[in-house]
């Protein structure tokens, strides 16, 4: 790993804890994010001081980052209180001052051992993600804000993930942070009753972070391993904080089972490799064993939910000795059950593929054709790819080629685009 890349990963690793610590201390997410951003910029300058790049990283980068961010935050709040004093002179009050008066400095110096102040307890992080996922915020705002403040993605990366213009995402994040401050959304861990309510949104966001890592929305980089790691870590933190919630265990299981196949998802040339063609010997058995154990014990609680069912499906794939040995009837049954929780066309499309594998391509194709008529998945390339696969298995090559062409009409990662191109070439030469 080169110096700058190592530096990026170090900053990404501590971003959440740093924003959470400063947010708790200042009570202001906007101040916290700006301060941590400035601290990261300072880190890039100071830590990259020598050519090796990594020698400049302090022994405790989290403490350095939090301490530096705290100084930046204090500076920002001092500027703000001058503005507030100006308001006071004109006879107007100062709600803002209350959050800027505590300028006691943390004792962790860069390079020294972290004090209790900069050591993470996990509560700050949970509080931050709960605020970011507050139901009084638009769902799109919750996701964007979590990706920014918790995961540390740039607005450009989030914009790419959502396939919307960057200014739209930037505006969405600014507005969400402002609403948290103005509406008095607490930057503390919610009461247990509220925490349970908040869970669904938090899990959804964690899942979306993983899928963003697993399948970059556009560009050549199909798997962003660091994002996957952070999402797994995030799910693990949540599972640790909320034991006895089978859906949290289900999410962690799902991410582990999917992530276990990361190394085989792309070939040496970066091209996409289908599940059936992946080298099962390369799958991460430790993750598979942990994931399967988690989902088995979660389902045993008798409170099934979408994450547990998705995980059970992933477990069917991951524990099969070969593509042929996959229990497609069980997978079709699990998708049918999943449809009760998520009656979406995407789940129906996956159900159709499982039925095709269990009962033959014709049965699955009939289900997919109904979805094409439905029209809601017009802009979802996997539907056309799945249809093309079934058509080619039925030797309807012209129709298969047309279906692949339809998939290419949408924006796709380069690896998937290349994969479809190869399939079209195979159909043409056969």
């Amino acid at each position: 790993m080169t110096g700058p890349a190592r530096l990026d990963s170090v900053l990404a690793e501590h971003w959440w804890a740093a924003v959470a610590a400063i947010a708790r201390r200042t009570g202001d997410l906007e101040v916290a994010e700006d301060a941590v951003q400035e601290a990261c910029a300072a880190a890039v300058v100071q830590w990259l001081g020598d050519e090796s790049g990594s020698a400049g990283i302090p022994p405790n980068p989290r403490a350095w980052l939090i301490t530096t961010a705290w100084h930046k935050a204090v500076d920002a709040m001092r500027r703000e209180s001058r503005r507030v004093e100006l308001e006071a002179e004109t006879g107007f009050g100062h709600a803002v001052l209350a959050r800027g008066d505590d300028t006691t400095e943390p004792h962790a110096e860069s390079g020294s051992e972290a004090s209790a102040w900069t050591a993470s307890t996990g509560d700050d992080e949970l509080a931050l993600i709960c605020a970011c996922c507050h139901p009084a915020l638009d769902l799109a705002a919750r996701i964007a804000l979590t990706l920014r403040c918790v995961v540390g993605l740039s607005t450009a990366e989030i914009a790419a993930a959502f396939v919307v213009p960057e200014p739209t995402i930037a505006q969405r994040i600014v507005r969400a942070k402002r609403k948290i401050r103005q509406a008095g959304i607490a930057l503390t861990v919610p009461r247990p009753a509220d925490l349970a309510d908040r869970l669904g949104t938090v899990l959804r966001v964690a899942y979306l972070v993983f899928t963003q890592g697993h399948r970059a929305a556009s560009g050549a980089d199909l798997v962003r391993g660091d994002l996957c790691d952070r999402a797994v870590w995030l799910a693990r933190q949540l599972a640790g904080a909320l034991p006895g919630e089978p859906e949290v265990a289900g999410l962690l299981a799902l991410l582990l089972l999917t992530d276990a196949r990361r190394a085989t998802r792309t070939g040496p040339d970066g091209a996409l490799v289908l599940l059936a063609d992946q080298d099962r010997g390369q799958w991460d058995q430790a993750k598979i064993i942990e994931g399967e154990a988690l989902v088995t014990s979660a389902l045993r609680q008798g409170r099934p939910g979408p994450y547990q069912l998705h995980a059970a499906i992933a477990a069917c794939h991951s524990t099969a000795e070969s593509g042929q040995a996959t229990d497609w009837r069980q997978i079709a049954a699990l998708y049918h059950e999943l449809g009760r929780f998520e009656p979406t066309p995407v789940v129906m499309a996956n159900h159709a593929v499982a039925v095709a594998m269990a009962e033959g391509p014709s049965a699955g194709l009939a289900m997919l054709d109904r979805l094409v008529d439905d029209g809601r998945l017009d802009r979802w390339p996997p539907l056309y790819v799945a249809r093309a696969e079934l058509l080619s298995r039925l030797d309807r090559c012209d129709e298969a080629r047309a279906a692949y062409q339809a998939a290419l009409a949408a924006e796709l990662p380069a690896a998937e685009r290349a994969f479809i191109g190869r399939r079209i070439a195979e159909l043409t030469s056969s």
Partner: protein, 119 residues
């Protein structure tokens, strides 16, 4: 009889403190509310945060439903108000959900800007 005046502005943000426009704004409002206070008719007058800081709450079949934003474009009619002091939005939402309007219509939770009376 008590009346709540719903004050609709131009949509322009409050002027930046310290600017001449801000001073004019303060004088204008102080003059108007000062007279009302002297006459003994004023109970409370404060600006509220922008509509973007607002949250609208409904209770349907016992489930609390939240919307990010004001109670615009709805069939329900504005029929009253409560001014509450709460630690944070979650506490305000808990109280709002207990009001009959939450089930029958909806409750818009609009944060009030803390402003001290002039002089």
């Amino acid at each position: 009889m008590k009346y709540l005046f719903l004050l609709h502005g131009s949509g322009e943000p409050m002027p930046e403190p310290g600017t001449p426009t801000f001073s004019e704004w303060v004088e204008k409002w102080s003059a108007a509310t000062g007279k009302m206070a002297q006459a003994g008719v004023l109970i409370e007058c404060s600006p509220v945060q922008a509509a973007s800081a607002s949250t609208t709450l409904r209770v349907r079949d016992g489930e609390v439903l939240l919307t990010d934003g004001p109670a615009a474009e709805i069939k329900e009619h504005f029929g009253g108000f409560s001014l509450v002091e709460c630690a944070d939005l979650d506490e305000a939402l808990r109280w709002a959900a207990t009001l009959p309007s939450a089930t029958e219509g909806c409750v818009e939770i609009r944060p009030v800007v803390q402003v001290a009376a002039p002089g």
